[in-house]
């Protein structure tokens, strides 16, 4: 272990904290593991990493947590990271969930994977964060035939400022090289381009980062309160968007409080609100594509309804070519996860694959017709997806970076 990196900034416990916000299937879990291993093996640091836990699903939010400290310090905390120094958003659709930015303050660097970073800038009010960076990791991943997670890894290293490309290549060889030797050079290229192409949108001229480096040396942190943030300080600084989320959250960003407590919840965990999952908006599960309906071509065979796992198709009684039958009236896009089963099953091409970004307004959007009332507020999906097991396929599932 030749190197001994000095962390540019740490919290009062002496930790540099990174939070990854991602969607299952993008490889954030592996990215977090690589960052952790990088700290131990190549940076001369101590590190700890873990992901949010739960049953494993694709398309649902996943969080990753990495803590670095100097090698002589034990990392004692097991709790999720509330106030990250670096927040990494693997998919800009996640920004629609306000809790994603929770706990980020003026010391926080943020990296967002976004097709068009500029469109997302307004989400980050001025002066709220240390710096916000963007890159189109999806494009880079496709071009380099690597994966989004390695591209993000390159960007993370660049933004952290204390990791060199050589170290990233080394950790990439250690982990990916062993598992998928064939795609190693592509992944290294993905890392390089992530490192080089991440750009900041604006820089807030606040404290000089070099000052911090001097003050936040690990052996001094404990006594140096002026340059060290506490949770309260950061909470004061977080912007309005996140304030709303704070109210919903009891302790920590990972455990939103339930609407039902011990005085209001029915005993035994019984749930009398039948069918209330309809309130969930699952559109963030879509990964760029969605089915487009062309009614002129539809022969109302109903095969789409037999293949849709998400009850998206709305059939009503009507007349087709002089026969009384059930007619396809439209799609409930709130619940469509973009699996495109219907597109491949449709015998007449009445359902085709569309790129979601090109269709901000969807035609033939018909909310679930059995609803007695419209949900007051469709909640963005995001329950219950995470990592419990190192499933053998986790990291190769999405090929060529296509998401």
């Amino acid at each position: 272990m030749e190197k001994k990196v000095i962390l540019p900034i740490t919290d009062e416990n002496g930790y540099y904290q990174i939070r990854l916000e991602s969607i299952g299937g993008l490889g954030a879990n592996l990215c977090g593991k690589m960052l952790g291993e990088l700290g131990i093996k190549y940076l001369g640091l101590n590190s700890a990493s873990f992901s949010s836990y739960g049953s494993e699903k694709t398309g649902t939010p996943v969080k990753g947590f990495i803590r670095y400290s100097s090698a002589d310090l034990d990392i004692k905390l097991h709790s999720p990271i509330k106030t990250p120094h670096l927040l990494v958003v693997f998919h800009d659709a996640l920004l629609s969930d306000t809790s994603v930015l929770k706990g980020c303050g003026r010391d926080t660097d943020i990296i967002v994977n976004s097709v068009n970073g500029k469109d997302r800038q307004e989400l980050f009010g001025e002066q709220n964060y240390h710096c916000v960076y963007f890159l189109d990791a999806q494009k880079i991943a496709i071009e380099t035939k690597s994966r989004i997670n390695v591209v993000m890894l390159g960007a993370i290293a660049k933004v952290m400022g204390f990791v060199e490309l050589e170290d990233l290549y080394a950790i990439c060889k250690d982990t990916l090289g062993r598992k998928y030797p064939a795609s190693l050079s592509q992944n290294m290229e993905g890392i390089r381009r992530g490192y080089e192409e991440v750009t900041s949108s604006y820089e807030i001229a606040q404290k000089n980062r070099t000052d911090k480096t001097a003050n936040a040396r690990i052996d001094e942190t404990a006594d140096n309160k002026t340059n060290v943030r506490t949770d309260e300080k950061t909470d004061e600084r977080i912007n309005k968007r996140t304030d709303e989320a704070v109210e919903k959250v009891s302790c920590g960003n990972c455990q939103p409080s339930s609407p039902w407590g011990y005085e209001t919840a029915p005993i035994g965990g019984i749930n009398p609100c039948f069918g209330n999952s309809v309130e969930n908006d699952l559109s963030p599960s879509r990964q760029g594509y969605f089915p487009i309906f062309i009614p002129e071509k539809c022969i109302n065979c109903g095969l789409c309804d037999t293949t849709c796992p998400d009850m998206v198709f709305q059939f009503q009684k009507g007349e087709f070519k002089g026969r009384e039958m059930m007619l396809n009236k439209g799609l409930d896009y709130y619940h469509c996860k973009g699996c495109l089963r219907c597109v491949s099953v449709c015998p007449v091409g009445a359902l085709v694959r569309g790129v979601e970004a090109e269709h901000p307004r969807k035609k033939y959007f018909m909310p679930n017709q059995e609803l007695l009332r419209t949900p007051d507020n469709y909640e963005k999906a995001g329950y219950d997806g995470y990592i419990t097991s190192e499933a053998f396929l986790t990291e190769q599932r999405i090929k060529g970076g296509e998401v």
């Binding site: 952790g36 131990i40 590190s47 700890a48 873990f50 836990y53 049953s55 494993e56 699903k57 398309g59 649902t60 990392i75 004692k76 097991h78 455990q255 609407p259 039902w260 011990y262 209001t264 919840a265 749930n271 609100c273 039948f274 069918g275 209330n276 999952s277 309809v278 309130e279 969930n280 109302n300 065979c301 109903g302 037999t306 293949t307 796992p309 998400d310 998206v312 059939f315 009684k317 039958m325 059930m326 996860k337 699996c339 495109l340 089963r341 491949s344 099953v345 059995e370 007695l372 009332r373 949900p375 999906a381 219950d384 419990t388 097991s389 190192e390 499933a391 053998f392 396929l393 599932r397």
Partner: protein, 764 residues
């Protein structure tokens, strides 16, 4: 001479446990995958595939059997390891006193998780406390490093005192968080530390046969139990020596319990597991403010470290014991009760409070520890209570929730699109999409009119959208297909599995009809009871007459561990429908192989490597097992043949409400773990049908009727064509796996030929 060189690992608790197991060189692991301990078996399977260990790994159909396998192997003199959690531990519970009472050493890792129900996979200590009376020493590790160290210590202890030993640690917090750890570089050093195993009564000494497991009455039993008591007392003498010996080798020494700033502390917090480390950060903060606080944890739960604790607790004036578990109706969780007993026994004068916290994996932050220190000191704080519970918002109370849907009563679902007719009188050819259904010519068989796709779209969905299944998941597809054919009110029971998890994440539910979940050993039995009471209540006039179809939905995993319950339910002849969605694996926990996984398929517990080609056994033929119970109706269905599916579903429901048990099995896509793309799943399923891996047929009142014969239509394809469509079996295309594919092809053909023969004779 051993060097005992060590090397750094960046690993979590499960990985360190697997590393220790591999290095020790166990003979056998009997296990059943359960979160969060599953990774241990997964890691070891990977090592096995790569030729790094020759451990015999036996994936039982449930934890009870896993414990049985371990027991047998231990009696035979093998070195044996197991790993489990939560309800798995409870399911196997009766086996543990057998193991300790007959004095066969082994080691079991328990990644602690909360016990159902309601079902949760997160960590707390409600499972491990059920082990307190089992006669097993219990070591409790609060870091991945300790998991490794304790695994080594545990086996040496087990073989010294001839008792089985548990190594417990926090699920997720310790099992899944990666930390910097040290391990011995060379396996030989580990083996040298453990030493040779000595069997006082070798089982296979044929010249001196022994009887294990006598029947014992009074006065003998109490003497046997006293021997067990003495063995546990012996642990008190032996364990410190083992700890010391181990500490000399690696520089990490352990004691019965462990403290931080406890020597001069006035206020002590006692916590078990990973929370201890978090609390030390709180101690640092409070010490800076001049508060004399400290924190304690236990490294050993059995035998309870009374003397060590008494010494550490002697000087404190205020002690707060936080239990991550409750002994409901007791005086607190088990930890606090035992510590109170220790204090009384040793005359410790401090004031004691206890609370219950962190159940179901509720995160424990530094701020929580600080709050607990404050509570410890407060004079007026109530003595026993829960920390971190929420009252709830009355504005959002259940009674205030407006309904989203109208209830699905018989009027809504009686759409007359699929009608079942009894006893057709003349021979009929039913054709559908050019697929010929065999003539229904046997007296007494049911005939289904309608069942066409367009008309059945009128059926209101019993499942609401918004569930959390992966994009393209086959489970809702199959459940919806089944239910669109059933025009009576339905009651659903889901066994544990993906289908259950994604539809009912509290406080949401996707069910619009009465629904109950039970653990997957027991769903069919539960539905039996449910249905019988319904029929009784209808007889008595307590609820309205009218048909209700009772349906259990289970994955193929539930049909492994719950097969006994399902077969017995079938044999009892309850009027209900058992529906299995078979995606060929335990997908909810990250895809471990099930007994229905195709031979050769890669999974987290059947890796491919130079020493292993994937799953070793053929897929289970559940429909034939069900048919052998003599129930009136068994059918297989596939979404690629939707009309056939709908008609069979209608028939099955008709049998279930009038005659007895019906069983329907669907092959169900899992894009995540089949490792193919969601939009191609129907084609993949069609290929499974066309290669005869998943033949479509019915067994109606004992008569086999083949629904579709791909051979006749010229659609038959080799099994390999199907296997090559999925990432999990793609490797089988390679020449080196030719033998595997050939044997699978042979088995598939054999099963299909048997079906053909059965369909040609009513006597088969």
């Amino acid at each position: 001479m051993q060097e005992y060189k060590q090397t750094i690992e960046f690993a979590n608790g499960n990985e360190m446990a697997s590393m220790a197991i591999k290095q020790i060189g166990y003979d056998l692991m009997g296990y059943y995958p359960i979160t969060p301990s599953t990774q241990i078996a997964e890691n070891l399977d990977l090592m096995k595939a790569e030729g790094k260990t020759d451990l015999i790994m036996i994936a039982a159909e449930g934890e009870h059997s896993a414990a049985g396998i371990c027991y047998g192997a231990a009696v035979a003199g093998g070195r044996v390891i197991n790993a489990t959690s939560a309800n798995g531990l409870l399911y196997a519970l009766e086996q543990f006193p057998v193991q300790s009472g007959t004095r066969y050493p082994m080691v079991m890792n328990v990644a602690c998780r909360t016990v159902s129900g309601p079902l949760s996979i997160k960590g707390d200590h409600s499972d491990i406390m059920y082990m307190l009376n089992a006669g097993w020493p219990i070591l409790f590790a609060h870091s991945p490093q300790q998991v490794y160290d304790f695994n080594l210590v545990a086996l040496k202890l087990a073989e010294t005192v001839r008792l089985p030993v548990v190594v417990a640690y926090d699920g997720f917090f310790t099992s899944h968080q990666k930390r910097r750890c040290m391990r011995f570089q060379h396996d030989e050093d580990v083996r040298h530390f453990i030493g040779e195993k000595n069997e006082p009564y070798p089982f296979f000494d044929m010249e001196h046969p022994i009887t294990v497991g006598s029947y014992m009455n009074e006065p003998d039993l109490i003497n046997n139990r006293y021997q067990l008591h003495l063995a546990m007392e012996e642990v008190k003498n032996v364990l410190p020596n083992i700890f010391r010996e181990y500490g000399i080798l690696c520089g990490r020494s352990y004691e019965w319990s462990e403290g931080y700033c406890h020597e001069d502390a006035k206020i002590l917090l006692v916590l078990l597991g990973s929370s201890f480390d978090t609390a030390t950060v709180a101690v640092d903060r409070l010490r800076k403010q001049g508060k004399k606080v400290g924190v304690l944890t236990l490294n050993v739960l059995r035998p309870f470290p009374e003397e060590a604790l008494a010494k550490m607790l002697q000087l404190a004036s205020h002690i707060l014991i936080a239990d991550r578990q409750d002994s409901y109706g007791g005086i607190g969780g088990n930890l606090s009760m035992e510590i109170r007993a220790v204090m009384q026994k040793y005359g410790c004068a401090g004031k004691v409070k206890n609370l219950v916290y962190g159940l179901g994996g509720k995160d424990f932050y530094v701020e929580d520890a600080i709050a607990m220190f404050e509570l410890a000191e407060q004079e007026n704080a109530i003595n026993s209570y829960y920390y971190g519970v929420e009252r709830g918002d009355s504005k959002q109370a259940v009674s205030e929730q407006e309904r989203f849907f109208a209830p699905l009563l018989a009027e809504q679902t009686r759409i007359s699109a699929t009608v079942v007719k009894e006893e057709p009188t003349e021979k009929e050819q039913i054709s559908e999409n050019s697929q010929i259904t065999r003539a229904v010519d046997l007296q007494g068989n049911k005939q289904v009119i309608g069942g066409q796709i367009n008309q059945t779209t009128a059926m209101p969905k019993r499942l609401a959208p918004g569930h959390g299944a992966c994009p393209g998941c086959g489970i809702p597809v199959n459940v919806n297909m089944l239910l669109r054919a059933i025009e009576e009110p339905v009651v659903l029971l889901f066994q544990t599995g993906c289908g259950m998890i994604v539809t009912t994440p509290y406080p949401k539910t996707s069910f619009k009809v009465p629904y109950v979940h039970n653990l997957f050993q027991n769903g069919a039995a539960t539905l039996s009871g449910l249905a019988e009471i319904c029929y009784r209540k209808q007889e008595k006039g307590e609820i309205p007459q009218g048909d209700i179809v009772f349906i259990m939905v289970s994955g193929d995993g539930g049909m492994d561990i719950g097969m006994g319950s399902a077969l017995s339910t079938a044999m009892r002849g309850h009027r209900l429908l058992l529906f299995e969605y078979d995606n060929g694996g335990y997908m909810n926990t990250g895809y471990q192989y099930s007994y229905s996984t195709p031979k050769g398929a890669v999974s987290a517990t059947s890796h491919v490597g130079k020493c292993q080609y994937g799953k070793q056994q053929f897929h289970k033929d559940m429909p034939q097992l069900m048919a052998a119970t003599g129930i009136p109706y068994v059918a297989t269905v596939a979404e690629s043949n939707p009309v056939d599916f709908i008609k069979k579903a209608a028939k099955a429901a008709d049998y279930a409400k009038k005659e007895g048990c019906a069983y329907v099995k669907a092959i169900s896509a899992c894009p995540l773990n089949w490792n193919d793309t969601p939009d191609k799943e129907r084609q993949v399923i069609e290929a499974a049908v066309n290669c005869c891996y998943f033949p479509l047929y019915e067994v109606e009142r004992g008569i086999t009727i083949l629904s579709y014969n791909p051979q006749k239509n010229g659609k038959k394809i080799p099994v390999l064509d199907w296997l090559s469509m999925m990432g999990r079996t793609k490797h089988l295309v390679k020449d080196e796996y030719k033998m595997v594919v050939e044997s699978l092809q042979e088995e598939v053909d054999r099963r299909f030929q048997r079906l053909l023969a059965k369909s040609e004779s009513p006597y088969l």
